[in-house]
């Protein structure tokens, strides 16, 4: 099964003719992803690694029957590209682009909600279901098919964790990097729910970091909904307190947002929390 992306994913790459787009089209195809088309305005009719390029998402979707897209376009063009994707008929949109204005992200997510489209990101490494498909930029070599679901707010830290799981012989059902921006399309809670409901997934690794209250909210959700074992690592236990949203932010946070608060919240609902990334694999191995 896996979550969100699998062997039925038919992917369009938005920004396929750019450096990043080309490179990752190749890497995704190697991973086994069914890349059915690309979009770059003005480059319709070209081919990139055997993949046909279209001028617009509408055309691409109607010509290929695509159901997912991945976006690599620069931040200042991202809103337009994301709206185009959400409006094109695909059901999943993965936004790799970083430095997306937070108001643009807000508008994109309001529109995706209206249209019933799942957005992952922005500013995320994407998602991979080993043995099935990867829609993202994570290195192929770190994955191994298995039954552990991974959800993470970080980019490279996701690689670190997935890699250490694989090195310990623990395969993944799906690993999803939801992105570290304040406003993101897919949250810990969304991913936890899907992993809980996914038959292939037997346990879940949740990688958080300091700042925000997403981990505390996830802990609440785990208490209510998740019965599978959850393992976690919260980056930044020893980091200095990050930027805060001033007094207004403090009202929302109510003392949450620190590593201590997050770890406490997670441990109180039975999550095993590692002190350093590599310890997650140790915790899992003890249980299986």
């Amino acid at each position: 099964m896996a979550i969100i992306v699998n062997e039925n994913t038919r992917l369009i790459v938005q920004g396929i003719t750019g450096h990043q787009g080309q490179y990752h089209t190749g890497a995704m195809k190697e991973f086994g992803t069914n890349v059915v088309g690309g979009v770059t305005p003005g480059k319709g009719g070209m081919e990139v690694l055997g993949v046909p390029v279209f001028d617009t998402m509408r055309e691409a979707v109607s010509a290929t029957g695509a159901n997912a897209s991945i976006i690599y376009v620069p931040a200042r063009f991202l809103k337009d590209a994301a709206f185009e994707a959400i409006d094109s008929g695909v059901k999943t949109v993965v936004i790799i682009t970083e430095h997306v204005p937070v108001h643009d992200a807000m508008e994109i997510l309001a529109f995706s909600h209206r249209k019933g489209v799942r957005v992952i990101g922005p500013n995320c490494p994407g998602i991979a279901s080993p043995g099935k498909a990867k829609v993202g930029i994570m290195p192929n070599a770190i994955f191994k098919e298995g039954s552990t679901g991974v959800v993470s707010r970080s980019g490279t830290l996701t690689y670190e964790i997935v890699n250490s799981l694989t090195e310990a012989g623990i395969g993944q059902s799906t690993a999803v990097g939801i992105g570290g921006d304040p406003i993101i399309g897919t949250t810990f809670i969304n991913a936890l729910r899907m992993f809980q409901d996914d038959p292939q997934t037997e346990r879940i690794v949740m990688v958080g970091e300091i700042g925000g209250t997403a981990e505390e909210e996830a802990a609440e959700f785990i208490r209510e909904y998740v019965t599978k074992p959850v393992y976690s690592y919260i980056a930044g236990r020893t980091a200095p307190p990050g930027k805060r949203m001033g007094h207004a932010g403090a009202i929302i946070a109510k003392g949450r947002g620190t590593a201590e608060s997050k770890i406490k919240a997670l441990e109180s609902v039975g999550v095993k929390v590692a002190k350093v990334p590599v310890e997650i694999a140790d915790l899992i191995k003890k249980d299986i």
Partner: protein, 372 residues
């Protein structure tokens, strides 16, 4: 980027949101004749100025200039004062709190208000705080103002003015790509005006490309911080002495956690922000040298770039620098064995396990520090 009070108030004024009469000076001599009582406010990007002595009152030109002289160049809560805002002193009848911020949970703007203004809003009891999510697809509408004023017990003309101000704040929040717009206190004067006596704004950094008007108006950076920002590298000064370079915020923090587990403490860290390009690593290394750490710890998890390419770049960079402190590199990704070879050849201790690298780095630091 956090705006100084005087900049926030400039924006308020442009949008028709009432602010006190006033102007900003960089030197005490620029203070004009004082006819009515004024407030002399040091401009620092942090709250709690009043308690820290950063706000003075004056009833004469002479006093005003004296107070300004005292404040300019002084340090208020860790920030050097370079600007003074001189404003009419308001006759305060009542003080409210109001703000709009981006709420991560709902992914929408959140309007917060309280009749208990002028104090730290965290100290106000929860049941005295009005919170209201604003759906960005419809924006601010008058009914939200009615809910706000009903909750906070405002009536009549005061309620109308506060509703109007809330609407203006939302307009500013959206048009300026703000993460936060805050007024505390929002003052009701003796003569019935409602005025923003203070103003805080944070502009979303990622939106600055479409707000050229803010260019060069951000808080002051040290030369090294400015250099880092120009390169797109996050630079954070800490109180330890191991210099850390890593790619990605999460991995950087995980690096600190790993060092900490072995008893090490970072003195400065540079986050390359998810990239692993040799150029960025090289730039980070140059910056790092200026921070003068006891040991340098590099932790790169290769994504797009092959590890050996990163290592080659780093070797080149080092060949043109005179680095005296030990360098420990944790390098992971495609061709990591080759990368480790390359780095070892120039005297860098390179390994692929983060735990092992962290342990070595702390050991070297302890050796370098001697009996510290």
């Amino acid at each position: 980027m956090k705006l100084f009070e005087y900049m926030a108030k400039e924006i308020f004024r442009m949008h028709g949101l009432p602010v006190p009469d006033g102007y900003v000076v960089e030197s005490a001599e620029d203070i004009r004749d004082v006819r009515n009582p004024v407030v002399v406010k040091s401009q620092v990007p942090i709250g709690g100025r009043g308690k820290a002595g950063g706000i003075k009152f004056a009833e004469s030109t002479e006093t005003a200039r004296e107070e300004a002289k005292g404040l300019l160049g002084s340090e208020v809560r860790g920030y050097r004062v370079k600007h003074i805002l001189v404003e009419e002193k308001l006759d305060i009848n009542d003080e409210f709190y109001i703000s709009i911020m981006m709420d991560r949970s709902t992914r929408m703007p959140l309007l917060i208000a309280s009749a208990d203004g002028g104090v730290e809003i965290e100290s106000v009891p929860e049941n005295r705080i009005f919170k209201r999510t604003i759906d960005p697809t419809i924006g601010y509408n008058p009914y939200i103002g009615r809910e706000l004023t009903k909750f906070t017990g405002l009536t009549g003309d005061t309620a109308k003015q506060v509703s109007f101000i809330a609407g203006k704040m939302y307009e500013i929040f959206r048009s300026e790509d703000a993460e936060l717009v805050e007024i505390n206190p929002l003052v009701l004067t003796e003569d019935g005006r409602v005025i923003a006596a203070d103003g805080k704004m944070t502009i979303n950094d990622d939106s600055l490309f479409r707000h050229p008007e803010y260019k060069g108006r951000d808080e002051e950076l040290t030369p090294i911080e400015r250099k880092a920002r120009e390169k797109g590298i996050a630079f954070i000064q800490l109180d330890g002495d191991i210099g850390v370079i890593a790619n990605g915020a999460g991995l950087t923090m995980a690096t600190l956690d790993s060092l900490s587990l072995h008893g090490g403490k970072a003195g400065v860290f540079l986050d390359l922000g998810g990239t692993d390009s040799p150029e960025m690593v090289k730039s980070a290394f140059e910056l790092m040298m200026e921070a003068d750490p006891k040991v340098i710890f590099i932790n790169i998890f290769g994504g797009i770039t092959k590890s050996d390419t990163v290592a080659t770049g780093l070797r080149e960079a080092l060949s043109s620098m005179d680095v005296k402190v030990p360098i420990i590199a944790r390098i992971k990704g495609v061709n990591e064995e080759r990368a480790i070879e390359i780095l070892s050849s120039v005297g860098i201790t390179a390994v692929s396990s983060l735990a092992e690298a962290a342990e070595i780095a702390v050991r070297r630091r302890n050796e370098a520090a001697g009996g510290d």
